[in-house]
């Protein structure tokens, strides 16, 4: 059923929440600075509650079912995270309070910096970036600043493999650097010969996602990094796929120079319908001075009975600030809670079972779906959502049909290097029964594609709305439900 908009539900004179009357003498604002009207809806509290509850029922979510959206790590989000992040001492703390009054926050942030350093094998961390894309931006800016600080002005090119997320090239352009594309080889690894050819003294660095977006661990990762280092470049690690590596290997040990974390993926902070994320950045000691300011540190060492005083430090050659204050603090509390509950053994188990689940699902579907690179995968894998003898059925149709089986579809049409890609990431929190049911659905759909293709072409059938007219949306561009007439 179509849910009216809040403007359609509005009834003049209704009030959703009352505030006290003013208890101070009256002061009149300057009349010429007042707005003439506020075109806002008028609703009672119950109207608001029902409206948004109705809307919530139109969403698919992890709490409702299996959400194998490749590259997004849609794992279960523990409810305790919400309780800890909402503790009043955290929720009510103002970011500009004197540091003496927020030692609890600062200690937690300091510890989280330490945890992330240990997990990734790096020497320094900034928690400031707001999301993965901003972490990338920060990381590449650091690489750029490093070269510039050495007077190495000619390094203006960044190598990006063809399997990379779109954010990698977009980030590079935002910083004013040039993108150089790098192909993958037959096994889905970086093509070493091509890399050697590209590397020269104009290369600022390489942005590498490992495991890559095919879900494959680059078998030559150490050689790749050595080649870039030998040319004087630095290697950026896109941490989007860190859920495969906790306690398995550390990017810092492999030779990466800088990486970002996606706390909302790996460390289970809820995705919130598209944010907030959180994208801390870790670097080697050589790059620590360039981190965005401020980072949390000890400003007064502990003495006999007095604990150390935590405060903010400005790295001497900082690239500056990338957002206000110190990061998405509420997300930091959630990630801290998650890491603290798991400990070293629990974290390793997370990655082991994420990889077990992906390989198990792969083993169930690979007969019916083409696998472009037949290898043991990491936490996710990519199959082709198309069959050579059925040219009219596309990955999109398979994705839409999965909704009729009550599953969220995988990521589709990414990575671009796989034809009609379906990118599947089950995560460690799904049980065998769920994976079996999902595999069964995929196998059934493969049969339907042959026998009853209309079922796929017209899917989904059981959702609140069916396929939507995106051309109409883009052409007519209705972006607001109600605006007042222009004067």
């Amino acid at each position: 059923m179509t849910e009216p908009t809040i403007y359609e539900l509005s009834s003049p004179g209704r009030v959703g929440v009352r505030f006290p009357e003013s208890d101070v003498p009256r002061y009149d604002p300057p009349a010429d600075l007042l707005r003439s009207d506020l075109p806002f809806p008028e609703l009672a509290e119950i109207d608001v509650i029902r409206h948004f509850t109705h809307l919530s029922a139109k969403n698919y979510s992890i709490d409702k079912g299996f959400y194998p959206l490749g590259s997004c790590t849609m794992k279960y989000n523990p409810k305790i995270n919400e309780v800890t992040a909402g503790l009043p001492g955290f929720a009510f703390s103002h970011p500009l309070q004197p540091v003496e009054t927020v030692q609890g926050n600062l200690y937690l942030m300091y510890q989280l910096q330490e945890f992330l350093k240990e997990i990734s094998g790096f020497d320094a961390v900034s928690l400031q970036p707001a999301a993965g894309a901003q972490g990338e931006f920060t990381g590449v800016k650091i690489i750029n600043a490093y070269h510039k600080s050495r007077g190495d002005e000619k390094r203006t090119r960044v190598i990006i493999p063809d399997s990379a997320h779109g954010t990698n090239p977009a980030t590079t352009s935002m910083i004013g650097l040039e993108v150089v594309h790098l192909p993958s080889d037959k096994r889905g690894n970086v093509d070493l010969a091509a890399l050697k050819e590209i590397c020269d003294d104009t290369i600022a660095g390489l942005m590498l996602t490992n495991p890559n977006t095919l879900g494959l661990f680059d078998e030559n990762v150490c050689e790749v990094i050595e080649i870039v280092h030998a040319a004087g470049g630095l290697v950026y690690g896109d941490g989007a796929n860190l859920n495969a590596l906790l306690g398995i290997t550390r990017p810092g040990d492999l030779g990466f120079d800088v990486m970002h974390f996606n706390l909302h993926k790996t460390f289970s902070t809820p995705h919130g319908g598209g944010g907030p994320g959180s994208g801390p950045v870790a670097v080697t000691a050589a790059l620590a001075d360039f981190l965005p300011a401020p980072i949390v540190g000890i400003v007064e060492e502990a003495s006999d009975d007095v604990p150390p005083l935590y405060g903010f430090l400005d790295p001497p050659q900082s690239i500056g600030r990338v957002k206000t204050f110190f990061g998405q603090f509420g997300m930091l509390v959630r990630a801290y809670t998650y890491i603290r509950m798991h400990g070293p053994d629990g974290l390793r188990k997370v990655s082991e079972y994420a990889v077990l689940n992906a390989n198990y699902l792969l083993s169930k579907v690979k007969g019916k779906y083409t696998l472009p690179y037949d290898r043991i995968c990491m936490h996710e894998f990519v199959v082709e959502g198309v069959w050579p003898d059925l040219p009219d059925v596309h990955a999109l149709d398979i994705a839409k049909r999965l909704m009729d089986y009550d599953f969220h579809p995988p990521t589709n049409y990414f990575p671009l290097i796989v034809h009609e890609a379906l990118m599947i990431e089950p995560t460690e929190t799904e049980n065998k029964q769920t994976l079996d049911a999902f595999a069964d659905a995929l196998l059934k759909i493969a049969d339907e594609a042959r026998n009853e293709p209309e079922l796929l072409k017209n899917a989904p059938h059981n959702t609140p709305v069916s396929r939507l007219d995106e051309v109409k949306a883009a052409k007519e561009l209705v972006l607001c439900c109600w605006l007042p007439e222009k004067e």
């Binding site: 995106e470 051309v471 883009a474 052409k475």
Partner: protein, 130 residues
């Protein structure tokens, strides 16, 4: 797929119709088919601009893709099809007619000679498949 005779074609899927030292620019039927439903078109240069061969002169967006249009021969812009921005769907329905994008006065008409003719472009599209 339509590939009219008498036009010159670039490997980046633009066509040029050359009359004396004046060339008219558009994108091919193959290009519009790859992009599918086009919802936006914008020329990024102005009349009077001197444009070098290979420069991006327009942008096309469909629902799922975006493409840049390059000028395959150097020239000075003398006319822009202002109407196309309001009906970008013409690029889908009439790529070689109503969807012309701009006209230029060629700086060096010999540059056009290196472009493909209809037959060469048609077989070039064949090799790329769909």
């Amino acid at each position: 797929m339509n590939t009219p005779q008498g036009l010159k074609y670039a490997s980046t899927d633009e066509w040029l119709k050359v009359e004396g030292n004046i060339a008219t620019l558009g994108v091919t039927d193959y290009a519009q088919d790859q992009l599918s439903d086009i919802v936006f078109f914008e020329v990024t240069v102005e009349v009077g601009d001197e444009i070098k061969k290979g420069t991006i002169v327009a942008t096309i967006e469909s629902v799922k893709a975006a493409a840049d249009v390059a000028l395959p021969a150097s020239g000075k812009v003398i006319e822009v099809n202002e109407a196309l921005a309001n009906s970008p769907e013409l690029i889908n329905s009439d790529p070689f007619g109503g969807a012309w994008m701009l006209k230029v006065e060629l700086t060096d008409p010999s540059e056009v000679e290196s472009l493909m003719d209809a037959a060469a472009y048609a077989s070039y599209c064949e090799t790329r498949g769909h």
